[in-house]
Each structure stands twice: as C-alpha cells, then as structure tokens.
Amino acid sequence: MANLACEFIGIKSINPFWLASAPPTDKAYNVVRAFEAGWGGVVWKTLGEDPAPINVSSRYGAHYGQNRQVLGFNNIELITDRPLQVNLDEITQVKKDWPDRVIIVSLMVPCEEESWKNILPKVEATGADGIELNFGCPHGMPERGMGAAVGQVPEYIEMVTRWCKQYCSLPVIVKLTPNITDVRLPAAAAMRGGADAVSLINTINSITSVNLDTMSPEPSVDGKGTHGGYCGSAVKPIALSMVSEIARDPETANMPISGIGGISNWRDAAEFITLGATNVQVCTAAMLYGFKIIDDLCDGLSDWMDTKGYKNINDFSRKAIPNTTDWKHLNMNYKRIAHIDQDICIGCGRCFAACEDTSHQSILQTGDLGKRKYTIIDEECVGCNLCEITCPEPNAIKMVDIDTGKPHLSWLHHPENPYREEK
C-alpha cells in the first residue's frame, strides 16, 4: 500500500492534497469539515489588513459544457471579508485541534514594509505551518495595488518575499499569477527573495459569458460585470504547462512547487506531480462537489501508485520532466498513424468530417448512405490525432506507431534547417 504522507518545504502532511486559499477555507467551520473529510491541509483564505474588504453580491460566473457540466467558472470575490482577529483566533484554535493537519495562511497587505512587518508576527503566533503570499488575485485587489499587481512585477515579488523571510520564521510560499507572459520570471524573483516554494497557478483573467438580454457580463452586479479569476478543469492544461516551465528551467528547477489549477481528480494530481509539483492544492472541484471528493483523490492516487510500484510521492515526482522538452528536440523521423477498429466503430463519421473538412483528407468513406464505413488512408495520415480526439467511442480509433527505420532526427539537426547544428 502506497504511502501518501509527504513533506513539503519541511511541512509534513498526511497526504498531498490541500485545499487552496478560497471560500472553502474562509473560516473554521469549513476547514474543520475539510479535515473531518480527510484533507491533508488548507491554505486559509487570504487575510489582509483591517478593515476587511466588502464583497459584492453575485460573485461567480460559469462556463458550461453542452449538458450543463461546469468546464470552468470565475469569481470576483475579494480576500476574506472578516476581521483579521477573528481569522487569527480561528486559525489558532483549529491548528490546536488538528495538529497533524497543515494550515498555511494566505496573506495580502499593501506593498509597504510596515504593513508586512505588522501582520507577520500575528500570523506566526497562531501556530500555522507557513504562509502563502497572494500575488495572484486578478480582480479587485490589483485595483488597490495588491494581488496580481504585485505578482506581475518581479521586483516587487522579490522585495516582499524578502520582507517576509526577514520578519517571520515560517516557510514562505509565493503564489504566482498566470496573467503574465513568462511565469519563470516571477518564480525566479521569488527564489531570489528567499521564498521556500512557489504555488501556481492563481486564477486567470476572464469573462465567462455575456447575458445577451441585459448586455451585462456574468457574474452581473446590478447590470454591470467585471473580469474575474477563471478556475476549474478548463485551466488545468495551462497550469500544467506553467508548472513544468518552472520545473524545467535550470534557474528555478530546484524550487519546490505546490501545483494548483483545475485539479479535479487523482489523475490530474498525479500529472502535476510528474511535472514538478510536490503537492497539490484543490479548490474548484471541492466547490462543485463538496469535500467528499478527497476520498477518491487519496484512494485513486494510492491504487495507481500500487499498480506502478511507487511507494511514495517522491517515487514519481518529476518523472515526466525529462520527457518534456522544446519543440526543436522532437524526433522528426517518428511516425504514427490512426487505425480504426471496425468492431468498435459506430459509424458516426465524426472523424471523417473532421479530417475531410479541417485536416488532411486521410479517411476513406465507403458503403451506402446510412451504412458508411470509415478507414484510414495510411499514406495520407500525418498522425495529428484529430480523428481520435473527435471520436466519441473510446478505443475505436487508436494511434499506432509506424517503424520508419530511420534514426532520431530533430529540427536542430535537420538538413532542411538553414540554422542546423552539426552533430
């Protein structure tokens, strides 16, 4: 039986699943329910200076799939709207009651040394395990010079991180915004400031929809809307890439990462860990289904580890990093083509429409109208995967490796590359 217990920047956790700083971790009531359900830790919803901000009514906007499944949603909530002392007292009590669970306190105060110097000792006194600097919140708070307004300026990140390390002995995690061109720069800045780890991604600037009757973006507040922070399953691919960028870059490769962004199940979590995360934070999936999903997260991950022979998280941590590379290193002599299994194929023709209309005309349509048969024209197929992606039937289309008999050849060394490097 695999051991899910792990250690992240010196903080021990019974499993790698923490709840991210967000409404699910806003107060003791929620956090206790999460711990009862089995979550390894929480990042307490961001504390700030008093007076606490005031939130608006109507806060989330959804991006739905065809059958109302939530692909992603956004929020325009601010940091905690409860007085600082209330939060500090609750954190102290919960940590005392749940010593084996992790509590990280998320923080966001103005970009002034005095503000940080003032709040840090109060947080440390709660007995919390660490702090996370919210440099990512993309809505509302940046208009006040905080959140992503700091996260988008690497120099600020470095400066504030340094203050935190100076005025507090707790481990410091810097939470990064994805609303930036190259996430490696703020990560490196955090490292220079002395951060123990980075966590990413925070939410993405977004407008999820527009009400076509009222002409107001959602979520609508009295007929007006604003951009909010997008999260959920839809952002997972973006987050995975950003995590891998930091893990692959020589400058930041040794920086511990807490992975965040659309993690909805154990498989997502495992993927983040293979690309560089040491643990993961979950929010949207819990907000959609409740805390009970922790059972599947733990159980699924543990069973998968058992089948693979991984005894603990470290055994597969960063395992996909060596296989994550730049385009120029990909083997141009590799070939794969699609194969349609006629026993499984249901004859919907979606692959044909996709390939014929939008790709490489590599699928042959035969048979009478109403009884069509689809087969791959091997010579035409470039192995793009589009047919496999559009196919509604699992396993009906398989991508098959073709032995070209040719050696590995990347663009770097390709004869048609005018700037090729000689081997």
């Binding site: 065809q66 059958n67 109302r68 249901i346 919907c348 023709g349 109403g370 069509r372």
Partner: protein, 455 residues
C-alpha cells in the same frame, strides 16, 4: 352462468378513461431535452436522415435544440416535413430513425429523436412570422383529393411554389388517418386540427369538406377544371375474414371502431366488450387491443395466424399491448365465429405451423376463445371504385390493386398524381408526407414547363 354478449358502455369511470387516454409519451422537460440532445453525436451522413422517409436533417435540428435555438430546430423539421409535429408523435421511430442511431451499437439505446422532434416543433416561436412564404402566383390550380397527410403535405408544398390548391375531402374534418385512425393517446388535445391550422396558414389552400370522389365529384371533372390532380385517398376498404359467423353483431371492423372512438366526445359512452378478440398483428391490431383495454375490456386477446417474428407491429408496439394487459396467441388461423343474430359467444381457430419448407400449414388442432367482440384488423385494401369505371380515364392499378405510380408519383394519366396509402408502400404517415412532398415537386416541374412553353 352466461357471459353472452357482454357489451356495454361505462365500464370505467370517466376519470379513469381520461387518465388511460392521456398522452402516452408526454413531452420531455427542458432538462430532459438537454440530456437527450447532448447524446446526439452530430454524425456525418447520419443514418437517421437516410432512415427518415422525409429526410429530416435530424442531427442539425438536435444541435439547434441543444444550443437553445428551438425555433431554428422547428423550422429545420417543418421545412422537410410540414407534419413533423404529428410524425414526432405517431412515427414508429423504433423501426425508422431511432433503429439506425449509432448510439445503439454499444449503448443499446438510441437518441430519443421522436421526442426531441416533438419538443422542437412544440417550441416553434409563434410570435415570429410564419416560417414559409408563397412564391408569386403561377395561375395554376391543382385539385387534391383527400386531406390526409399525403394531401396536406402536397398542398403545402404546392402553395409554397405559388400554385392555387383545392382539397376535396370526403369526411367533415381534415387530417385523414391522423384525425380518424391513429390511437387517441398518441395524438391528444386535438393536435391534428391544430397542426392543420398551421399548415393552412401558408395561404392558397381551400378545403371543400364532405366532397367524396366518385360520389360528389368525379376524377374526370377534376381533371377538366384543374391543371393537375393529386390523389391521396387512402385505402377505403378493409379485408374480410371470409369465415362463417363474420356477419353476426359483435364482429367489428377495427378501423371503423377507432374512427368512432376518435370522434367521440364522451369515451365512456362507447360500447365495449368484456372479452375481446383482435384478429391481426399490425399497428391497427395493437391500437384496437390497447384502446379496448383502456376502455375497460377485461380480456383482450390478439390472435395471429403466423408466429411472433412475422408480426407487422414493431416490438415496441407489441410491448405496449402487453404492458396494457393484452395477450398474444400466435399460430392460430380464424375458423369460425360462433354466435347468433343477437351476438357472439366464441371464436374458433385452427392452429398453424411451419412445414419443413417454411410454409404455413393449417393443422386440425382447434382452439376456442370465448368472446363478446371480435375486431378484424387484418389489413386494409384499396377501394378503386371512386376512380370511376371507364378504364380510359382511370389511372392504372398495380399488381396489389393500388394506384400505380412512377418515381415522380405520376399515375398512368399524365396530369394525375397519387401518394399515401392509395399507392404501394409501408402505409406510414411519414411516408405519405414524403409522397405528397415529392409529388408536389413533380407537379410543380410539370406545370413550370407548361408555363415556360406558354401553355
């Protein structure tokens, strides 16, 4: 104790009957539609389109429903099949579009095309302009005989092309079998008349009621006064059992009984037998059996001379009969109806079997079923007498005795077309609509040629 001739009305309370005859497949809710429409895979060259006699672009209308474009979905359906609303309710979709749905292969349950189609047509936005327009008047005038599905679709299509249409209908109402023949629980709330009202909104269609061909108007007269004639006159007659006792009271024609039922305002007033035997195994047999049960008959037995696999009614229809408490007896050929001039008491049958060559043979094994009513539902036949007796001016008939037509639904008479049940086919509403559509296009082509040639 005698059960003789136990035929009476009011076997059930009005409230029970009303419940029994409510919509058999109630409309899907918005949420159900979301789930059902999402299952459609938007197939390329979708098999369902091919399986639909009217070729409705099913994946496209379902996609439109799924995106909230219900009005567009309804227009998509109606432009291919102006009676798309009733077809959604009465089509045996399990043997048409839904039978070939690709979802059947691994999931054994097709997209609910019929019910989605009903949802779409029901959600046509009536505050919008009528979705069809008439072309400029051609000055041509077409006579249509029969305001059933074939005649109505033909009329609508011709009206769209700018022609003037007069429909001659023998009955006091239009709709044909939709009004007089389909089981009541499939077309509730006077749907047929509402649908016809929508059809006629195109304009240019005049209906003359209680004008029967061969009685009030002759084919020769119609041809003389019109530029073309379309015959959508249905079958007109039913097959007989040709066995002793068929003339006794209590032996009924299922088609006639259903017609009476469909027009009855108080169903409880209908006389219903306590023990009912239905002869036949097609849709009409199922309809009369189920409706008899719903009216309060205690025992309903459907007797068929072949085995179950040869039945005309689909499995879905057979299940419906059994769910409603009817019993099937197969391989039994009618022998005699026992009774007198006051009614009947039982019916006897010879058991049948297949011989080594697969031929049905009648055995000496006799069974008897006590009954108060026997419904004959062994198929209808085309009654050709309304066409007239003059072989010169009467359209030729095919081998089965129905009106012969070519691929354009043109009869042996150059200006006379025919479609629906009076020509050879599957005898389905949706097929009749298709005949009407295609005949209209052929008539339009013919008349256009005449116009271009200055005739």
């Amino acid at each position: 104790m005698s059960f003789t001739h136990d035929i009476k009305s009011n076997r059930l309370l009005d409230v029970e009957i009303s419940d029994n005859f409510s919509d058999i497949a109630p409309p899907l809710s918005d949420k159900q539609v979301l789930v059902a429409s999402e299952r459609c895979l938007f197939c390329y060259d979708a098999p369902c389109i091919t399986a639909c006699p009217t070729g409705i672009d099913i994946p496209l209308f379902i996609r439109k429903i799924n995106t909230g474009n219900n009005h567009g979905a309804a227009k998509e359906i109606l432009s291919a099949n102006i009676l798309g609303g009733s077809c959604a309710r009465v089509c045996p979709t399990e043997t048409l579009c839904e039978q070939v749905c690709v979802r059947n292969k691994h999931e054994e349950s097709p997209v609910e095309i019929g019910r989605l189609q009903r949802y779409a047509v029901d959600h046509l936005d009536t505050t919008q302009p009528y979705p069809f327009t008439r072309a400029e008047s051609t000055g041509k005038h077409i006579a249509i005989v029969g305001a059933g599905p074939a005649g109505l679709s033909c009329a609508h299509q011709l009206a769209r092309e700018g022609h003037q249409v007069t429909i001659f209908e023998a009955a006091p109402k239009s709709g044909g079998l939709n009004e007089y023949g389909i089981a009541l629980y499939k077309l509730v709330d006077d749907y047929t008349q509402k649908e016809i009202e929508f059809v006629l909104k195109i304009g240019g269609i005049d209906i003359q009621y209680e004008k029967a061909l061969g009685r009030d108007v002759s084919l020769a007269q119609l041809r003389e006064k019109h530029d073309a004639v379309f015959l959508g006159i249905g079958m007109g007659d039913v097959n007989a059992l040709n066995i002793p006792g068929e003339h006794y009271p209590g032996v009924e024609d299922a088609v006639a009984y259903i017609k009476e039922l469909r027009q009855k305002s108080e169903l409880s007033n209908l006389p219903v037998g306590r023990r009912v035997v239905v002869i036949g195994a097609g849709m009409t047999a199922i309809d009369i059996a189920v409706q008899s049960k719903k009216l309060g008959a205690e025992d309903v037995t459907i007797v068929y001379r072949r085995d179950k696999s040869a039945m005309g009614a689909s499995q879905h229809e057979q299940d419906l009969a059994q769910t409603n408490g009817a019993t099937f007896i197969c391989n039994a050929q009618p022998k005699e109806i026992i009774g007198s001039d006051t009614g009947i008491t039982e019916m006897t049958f010879n058991k049948t079997m297949l011989d080594d060559n697969g031929k049905l043979v009648v055995t000496d094994d006799i069974i008897s079923i006590p009954c108060d009513v026997v419904f004959k539902a062994i198929g209808q036949k085309f009654e050709s007498s309304p066409l007239g007796n003059d072989s010169e001016s009467k359209p030729a008939l095919d081998q089965r005795g129905r009106i012969a037509v070519n691929d354009n639904f043109q009869t042996s008479l150059n200006d006379v077309y025919a479609g629906g049940d009076c020509i050879n086919g599957k005898d389905l509403v949706v097929e009749a609509v298709d005949h009407g559509n295609k005949a209209a296009l052929a008539i339009h082509q013919q008349l256009k040629k005449q116009i271009n040639q200055g005739e």
